[in-house]
């Protein structure tokens, strides 16, 4: 609903910019962003692409992503449309050499194998995928400098699918295990068998997809510390090199939140959440998986998610599919600010509307250098590597010189309180305590730049 009204507002904004005169209501399309960006003379090549597959078996109770259970068999029209969008993006972006591709959902692994093959072929046609081809050729080198991740529901992982994905350059799967405890899976309305997780890992591995990541959720209603320790042990026994651990979040508008409001389930509470999180950090770290972002753990630097790091480092990426969001800099660097946009969320709109292949967009933020500075604080501090203080201050001096003093004062005050450190590399990083209250620290710092 909200997105729809935003769309209308944007539509008014973009009046006269649409190409089709028959279009009943003027709408904004991704061309509003990619167009100006691609015509900029000093643009930096984009290296990342995200695309969204909205189909699900079933709507999980905690999920606020755009997804639905497909009852009309719209997989093929969707792939047709996505192909057109990939073609348009590839053309406008100058057929860039991609280093990271991430396919999220929904449940991307629900897409039929033949449709997957068409999409993988389309990627090769419209983008330079040579980095992935290299990694495919050399099966031994799983860290070939390029990363192609597909999110998988454990029950949908099959041998033919893995083989097709592997052949298309996929070298990483992210498996949504969430929990190994049937009771908690039920709370989440996840119906997979916990044993399907090791099976999925094994199938991916034997197909030659070298990197597997597991998602886990903690602070589930009624979850004990012991149960959580068991989940962690199960994951560690799989020998994966990447784990994401999320605290259960009650997102507005989800079934889980409604049940919480009705008092049917009780949230874990701040203290228990902190305790479970700390348990995860300590258990994973002692097993050799070190934290590189608040919720992400990897066995080595090359096991970190390159694609997600691009998000956290405010790099550029293209977006395709309903509700996918993209990010592009203006003027070739972060200092010029950036566009952020989000495609319309509804599959119907996505399928029926089209501007030379580009998707209609529902939300758009136009370049605002100070905003991007604030986003750098919000995202950068989530990383173990933190933010380069000298770069950041230099950019602040250039963009908002009158705020430098307040920012520095606030940094000092956070440091005095032991929440933030300036480390020897000249980077701002959060302390252990600071990481637990990262939102508050970020909000405090962002306020100095508002």
């Amino acid at each position: 609903m909200v997105q729809h009204s935003r769309l209308e507002i944007l539509g008014q904004h973009a009046a006269g910019e649409t190409n089709s005169a028959d279009e009943p209501a003027a709408r904004a399309y991704a061309s509003r962003v990619v167009g100006p960006w691609s015509s900029g003379s000093d643009r930096e090549t984009v290296r990342s692409l995200y695309f969204h597959v909205p189909f699900c078996f079933h709507k999980c109770h905690y999920c606020d992503f755009y997804s639905f259970v497909d009852t009309q068999d719209r997989q093929q029209p969707f792939v047709d449309r996505l192909e057109r969008e990939l073609a348009a993006l590839g053309r406008l972006a100058g057929h860039p050499t991609l280093r990271t591709v991430f396919v999220g959902g929904g449940t991307p692994s629900l897409l039929k194998v033949d449709l997957w093959e068409r999409l993988l072929a389309a990627l090769r046609t419209h983008f330079d995928m040579s980095e992935f081809a290299a990694s495919a050729a050399d099966g031994a080198d799983r860290y070939a400098g390029a990363e192609f991740t597909v999110e998988c529901n454990p029950e949908t992982v099959s041998e033919p699918l893995m083989a097709s994905l592997r052949a298309g350059g996929v070298n990483r799967v992210s498996i949504g295990a969430q929990s190994f405890n049937p009771r908690h899976l039920k709370t989440l309305e996840r119906w997979h068998d916990p044993d399907s997780v090791p099976r999925a890992v094994e199938l991916a591995r034997s197909a030659g997809i070298a990197r597997q990541s597991i998602d886990l959720i903690h602070a589930l209603p009624g979850q004990t510390e012991d149960e959580w320790a068991e989940d962690l042990d199960r994951v560690l026994s799989l020998g994966v090199t990447h784990v994401s651990c999320y605290t259960l979040t009650y997102e507005p508008g989800t079934a889980l939140t409604a049940r919480m409001r009705r008092g049917e389930i009780e949230p874990a509470g701040e203290d228990l959440e902190a305790c479970l999180y700390e348990a995860a950090v300590s258990r994973l770290q002692s097993a050799g998986l070190s934290r590189y972002e608040i919720s992400n753990f990897a066995a080595s630097e090359s096991d970190r998610s390159m694609h997600n790091l691009a998000y956290w480092r405010q790099e550029q990426w293209l977006a395709a599919g309903p509700s996918a969001s993209g990010h592009l800099w203006r003027g070739g660097s972060m200092r010029g600010g950036s566009w952020r946009w989000k495609n319309v969320p509804r599959l119907g709109d996505y399928l029926s509307l089209d501007d030379n292949g580009l998707a209609p967009i529902a939300e758009l933020e136009t370049p605002d250098p100070a905003r991007l500075l604030r986003e750098r604080l919000m995202m950068g501090l989530r990383l173990e590597e933190g933010i380069d203080a000298r770069d950041f201050l230099a950019d602040t001096v250039a963009i908002a010189p009158d705020r430098v003093e307040r920012l520095s004062e606030e940094i000092t005050s956070l440091r005095d309180r032991g929440l933030l450190r300036s480390d020897v590399r000249g980077r701002w990083t959060l302390s252990e305590r600071g990481l637990l209250v990262a939102d508050d620290v970020a909000a405090t710092l962002m306020r100095t730049l508002a």
């Binding site: 989000k342 929440l419 637990l436 990262a438």
Partner: protein, 681 residues
Amino acid sequence: MSANPPNTSLDRAHIRNFSIIAHIDHGKSTLADRLLQATNAVSAREAKEQILDSMDLERERGITIKASAVTVYHRHKPGSKSDDLETDYEAPADETGEHRAVKGTADEHGELFMLNFIDTPGHVDFNYEVSRALKACEGAILVVDATQGVQAQTVVNAYLAINEDLAIVPVINKIDLPSARPDDMAMEVEQVLGIRAEECIYVSAKTGQGIKELLAAICEKFPPPREPVTPKLRALIFDAVYDDYRGVITYVRVMDGGQLKVGDKIRMLGTGRTFQVTDLGKYTPKPVRVPTLGPGETGYIVAAIRSLKDVRIGDTVTLELDPATEPLPGYKPPMQMVFCDFYPATTSETKGSDFEQLRDAMEKLSLNDSSFTFQPVHSDALGFGFRCGFLGLLHMDIIQERLEREGNVEIVQTAPTVSYQVLIRGDANQAVKTSNKGGIPPTVVAGAGQKFPGTEQIIPENRTLLEVHNPADLPDPSSIEDIREPICKVDIILPKEYIGDVMKLCMDRRGIYKSQSFISSDREMLTFEIPLAEIIYDFFDKLKGMTSGYGTMDYELLGYRPDNLVKMDILVNGDPVEALSIIVHRERAEHRGRHLVSKLREQIPRHQFEIPVQAAIGSKIIARETIKSFRKNVTAKCYGGDVSRKRKLLEKQKEGKKRMKSIGSVEIPQEAFMAVLDQGD
């Protein structure tokens, strides 16, 4: 079809001025509507619920805030006990104002009477408006709910009317309800008020049953206006409202002299100010212009009066050219009983536009309601704001709501307190100077050799009695001889089975038992003397709670009495927060202190650091709690598609703090300032 008043001027014998008084929710406004409809002042189609309550807020809260005066016409055959409703014939509509009868001639319906009636507010906070309204009347309809019987405000309002020497027509209302027990309730009226049960008229304002009899009783039992005692014009101002277009509209009752006419130059005897009458009229209930207002009549005057401050309720209007010398016996000015601070709910530290916006809103509202007072104040903790005085807590809530609604400002409100009188040693002027922190300044009530107000006691040598409206304004403790607080006589009517619990509640609130009297076989009236400070907040709620809603109360101020009172300060993160200071009884200080700091611990959100919250008397800490620093506040998932939404959320946190106030580095939410009020019993 509007009911224009007949242009035939009626003699005094055919005018009736009366009020309707009742306990809240006993159906006073509905009865007023029914009377309007029955006399055809409004058609049934137009009859919205509770026509006389014109403010939105009144409708929403179901209470009457501003008294309204309405004039209707009615035909009555002298001597008869029941009048046909005027719905039988058309109301006067033509130019001549003749009553045109549908059934029979107008004369067959009787003689024409002018009924001026004044709707009064039912809540205890507005008692002063009730007494104003009664000054302009000869009679009062006392409404009692047939299911609930005599209640505390019934008694208080009835005595207000009796003290004004008004004729009373008791009405037992809501007799259509299945649980109605009109005979029992009529017996209660006789038992409590000494008005004979047979006098009661049984009415259903909802169905119209009994209205014919009530209309006849109004004409028969209420006396006509008294004879003028002087040929010079004297009119009593009993209410005034502010209108955006016409300025102040003054409601008057003409008592003496001849006709007041449009164009007359009038003089207010009290203030000495003069104005030219530009408009005279009556509400029927639509405003209708009239050329003149004569003795015995009520109506309104428009005279290009810009602000309510230019009009004193209770003042006497006379003619500039032929003035009366003696004013009519006036009213007491409204008395502010409850005080608190309003601050703009923003984080800015300087005296900025938010403050100006609040000031504008308050000035505008004071045009409409002259019964609250405000003075600029500055607090170290809360910045610039206003110290305000109100008639009571409901009045305070209404003012806050109207400011926010009509003035579009957000307010942080501090806990309401009462005013205290302090007997001090030494130089009073010095004490006033050093103690006032802005806001409503302490005033000297009486000096050495004068009597303590309301008593025969003499203030001793070298002592001064000071009144302070804010605990923060207390003079240096070394100069304080004693602190005196306002004491109320509280009447509570309740079913017998709850007497034990309610007695205990009163005692816990430092009440002194006065009397217990019989109302009916199952209900009694308790009378206590209780400090006002103990009842202003949750006493009424507690009473309602422990009597399953059946207990009712009313109070009146008796005067000030000394007690063993001390000032208790609250320190948040080591800093004293003036707005949280309270004056408490020494023996209860520790209990209150402990309760208060634990309340504050719940209400002040966790910060990045630990916050001690302490209660102290002087330098002695009597209670302490610690707010732990928060442990976890971090988004679990934050990826590319989350950036915009997440950023907005974090930036909104700042806005979410609008109703917070920063004290040092601690953000204190509005509710925390009200925590002071919770007695913890």
